[in-house]
């Protein structure tokens, strides 16, 4: 898919809460002697949620963009941890930032690829010239079911991207994108349930790998590109194993993937994951670098993008904290504190 007008990223920003819990703590809680998938994951503070994290990330994106908030004409928040089942997180965030009232706003859901769906939507709104700037956010305070395998990786974080027409002010632009979507029930949460259910090994080959491989192949076919044309590759990252494996399957090298692979130290931030990975790349990329971004959302589907960095990155990058600044800022919690922070203790 190529937009009718070329579109780029005017500003980007992330937010990762400062609390962490080491996975060994979780393992000790459940007397689990098995191998642990990651080191530690991020945990929201007592007064944080998807709305607050979105605001923080968007403020960083605005700082880099150097535009006024009220110049933004649309906000799309992709998340599976909405603050309300009915009432958009997007309006809370838009008002806090000063984007309202002349704006489009809504929340979007497609599990871990809701953030990139938000991105696609913003690209379309800007390319069609319906709005000058659009804000796409991927955010989650993912709930991990106690004693389940996913409790070790369900993390919290947000990434915000301000989209505008490609021009000198764009730090990067989109060459094109491709999506691959099927009805595959690998992971879901019914309306009144607190925690999602997943299908263990079925979430691998027929879900994560099938959709990412197909989306990336479609993208490369359409744009006439091959793995060696990319400097970096960011994949959705539910753990460390999967993105490295899918990279190998597609012909990408480990070196292209590692700079954008954060899960080991912050956990899987669900709808924010691949977008935080992209931000980590933008924090170090040079003008002219081509980046592959491939998300995956359960249910299931993958969005793949080819993004090329422009000169503006050098000056704009330093206007807000880098991903690693948030990664390095941490306070450890024990399991009881973690349970309290995540609302698992009945008060």
């Amino acid at each position: 898919m190529r937009a009718i007008n070329s579109v780029g990223v005017i500003g980007y920003g992330v937010y990762i809460p400062m609390y962490r819990i080491k996975t060994i703590e979780i393992a000790k809680m459940w007397s689990n002697v098995g191998k642990l998938p990651i080191e530690e994951k991020s945990v929201i503070g007592l007064d944080e949620d998807s709305a607050t994290m979105s605001v923080e990330a968007a403020l960083n994106a605005l700082a880099r963009a150097g535009i006024r908030a009220d110049e933004i004409g649309a906000i799309r928040i992709g998340t599976e941890s909405k603050v309300y089942a009915v009432k958009p997180t997007a309006t809370i965030v838009a008002e806090a930032l000063g984007i309202t009232p002349k704006t489009l706003a809504c929340d979007m859901e497609f599990a871990c690829k809701a953030g990139t769906e938000a991105l696609e939507d913003c690209i379309a709104l800007v390319a069609s010239k319906m709005v000058k700037y659009a804000l796409a956010i991927g955010v989650d305070a993912a709930q991990g079911r106690p004693r389940d395998a996913l409790e070790y990786t369900a993390g919290c974080g947000a990434a915000a991207y301000i989209i505008g027409l490609k021009g000198k002010e764009a730090i990067a632009y989109f060459e094109g994108s491709a999506s691959y979507v099927t009805d595959t029930p690998d992971f879901w949460r019914r309306e009144c349930e607190k925690y999602p259910q997943h299908t263990a090994r079925f979430t691998g080959e027929p879900a994560y790998f099938k959709h990412i491989v197909n989306a990336v192949k479609l993208l490369m076919e359409e744009l006439g590109l091959k793995p060696s044309d990319f400097k970096y590759a960011v994949f959705h990252q539910p753990n460390i194993k999967f993105p490295l494996k899918v990279a190998k399957m597609l012909g990408f090298r480990k070196e292209q993937v590692l700079p954008g692979l954060l899960t080991g130290v912050i956990g899987n931030t669900y709808a924010a994951a691949s977008l935080i990975g992209l931000a980590a790349i933008l924090d170090v990329a040079k003008p002219g670098d081509r980046i592959l971004l491939a998300s995956f959302g359960s249910g299931a589907g993958s969005d793949a993008f080819s993004i090329v960095v422009q000169d503006a990155i050098e000056e704009k990058r330093g206007r807000a904290p880098l991903v690693k600044d948030y990664v390095e800022r941490k306070i450890y919690l024990n399991y009881a504190q973690y349970a309290y922070h995540r609302g698992k203790i009945i008060l």
């Binding site: 002697v33 098995g34 191998k35 299908t199 263990a200 090994r201 079925f202 080959e205 027929p206």
Partner: protein, 385 residues
């Protein structure tokens, strides 16, 4: 009783077949077997399967699968004997032809274990045990095997490495088995460092959860000799049971069902252990291999582990065992396993085992076990032509 031969085999790859249903897997194997035998129709169908009711919420497999392979109307039914369902079905099919009642019979096994999550599959597998006196007190299937393992090591003063070596050899074999589930090397270190599932059983000493289907077509030996160039005879087919629960037996380390079935089989085939060129044992857990080798007469009680430690079980050893990878590496789709064991043996006897070929393989013994030795089927196969 007429003599019985195998005139065709068919089987699917074993693994996680996310996009194939139970009936599709069975049809794939059955149609391949019909092709291999060059026949269009059979008179009776026996289906080996253990858990279709719980995992697929589907019973009545005889009628369902006869219909699905395009032969509604023939005699058909499901045979269940826990993990020995395949072996038990083979026995029934053998009797059907040996008795003279049917001429061409198809016996297949099928299991689809990836439709539900592991805790549900564990629950389904536990149905092989006595529910009210064993399962209700919390003993899982692997827990019972762990008790047997620990007792064996203690009583016969055996080191775990000498038993845990078996999966290592099986994995090496499976590298050259195109239809095997796991086709990669593992080391003894990998096995002993793999997570403990039920002390002392490590993860890599357990057969995997698998999807798969295998089918064989049987016919009277006389008919086979007339119409086929290569003829494999089923020289013996025996089925026996034991006291269901391990804790009620006088000797927990001897599977009397294996002893009884083997005795009947050797007598029927007019053979002794020394006449067997290769063996397929039911290694749901590594400990069951040395015990089976003892109960089948290939080693004295408490000495079966030596065949493994001294690697006599390799394809070029004194007694090749599980040359295509066994339950651990070839795979273990429960109801189909007994038939896959027959397939493994038949490929060897037909000289079609490729890199795994045992030179001059003329006779094979296959051992299919249900529960912790509750039911055992032993078959002896022989190359006639």
């Amino acid at each position: 009783m007429r003599r019985v031969a195998v005139i065709g085999v068919g089987y699917t790859k074993i693994g996680e077949h996310w996009d194939k249903s139970l009936r599709e897997l069975f049809a794939e194997a059955a149609l391949k077997a019909l092709d291999d035998a060059n026949v269009d129709k059979v008179e009776a169908l026996y289906v080996g399967n253990m858990m279709s009711g719980y995992l697929q919420e589907q019973e009545h497999l005889g009628s369902l699968l006869a219909t699905y392979i395009g032969m509604p109307g023939i005699a058909a039914c499901k045979i269940e004997a826990a993990c020995a369902s395949g072996g038990a079905a083979l026995h029934q099919a053998f009797l059907a032809v040996a008795s003279g009642y049917y001429d061409i019979v198809l016996v297949g096994g099928v299991e689809k274990m990836t439709d539900k999550l592991t805790p549900d599959v564990t629950l389904a597998l536990a149905m092989a045990e006595d529910r009210e006196y064993v399962v209700y007190v919390g003993a899982s299937f692997i827990g019972l095997n762990a008790l047997v393992y620990r007792l064996y090591m203690r009583k016969f003063n055996v080191k775990q490495e000498d038993i845990a070596k078996f999966p290592v050899i099986e994995h090496e074999n499976a590298i050259n088995t195109p239809y095997a589930q796991f086709r990669y090397k593992i080391t003894l270190d990998d096995v002993l460092k793999s997570p403990l599932v039920a002390d002392p059983i490590h993860l890599l000493e357990c057969a995997p959860l698998s999807d798969g289907a295998a089918a064989i077509i049987l016919a009277p030996l006389e008919y086979a000799l007339k119409h086929y160039d290569t003829v494999i005879e089923i020289s013996a087919s025996a089925l026996a049971t034991d006291i269901l629960s391990v804790h009620e037996r006088p000797d927990m380390l001897t599977m009397m069902a294996t002893v009884r079935a083997a005795e009947k089989a050797y007598k029927m085939a007019k053979m002794e252990p020394k006449d067997i060129d290769l063996v397929e044992v039911h290694d749901a857990f590594s400990i069951l291999a040395p015990i089976a080798l003892e109960d089948l007469g290939f080693a004295k009680k408490g000495e079966g582990w030596r065949l493994i430690a001294e690697e006599e079980v390799r394809k070029d050893g004194k007694l090749p065992v599980n040359t295509m990878g066994g339950l651990k590496a070839r795979g273990h789709p429960i109801g189909a396993t007994g038939i896959y064991q027959a397939v493994d043996a038949i490929l060897q006897l037909r000289q079609e085992a490729g890199v795994n070929q045992v030179t001059n393989a003329e006779t094979a013994l296959i051992h299919s076990m249900g529960g912790v030795g509750g039911t055992v089927a032993v078959h002896i196969l022989r190359r006639v032509k």
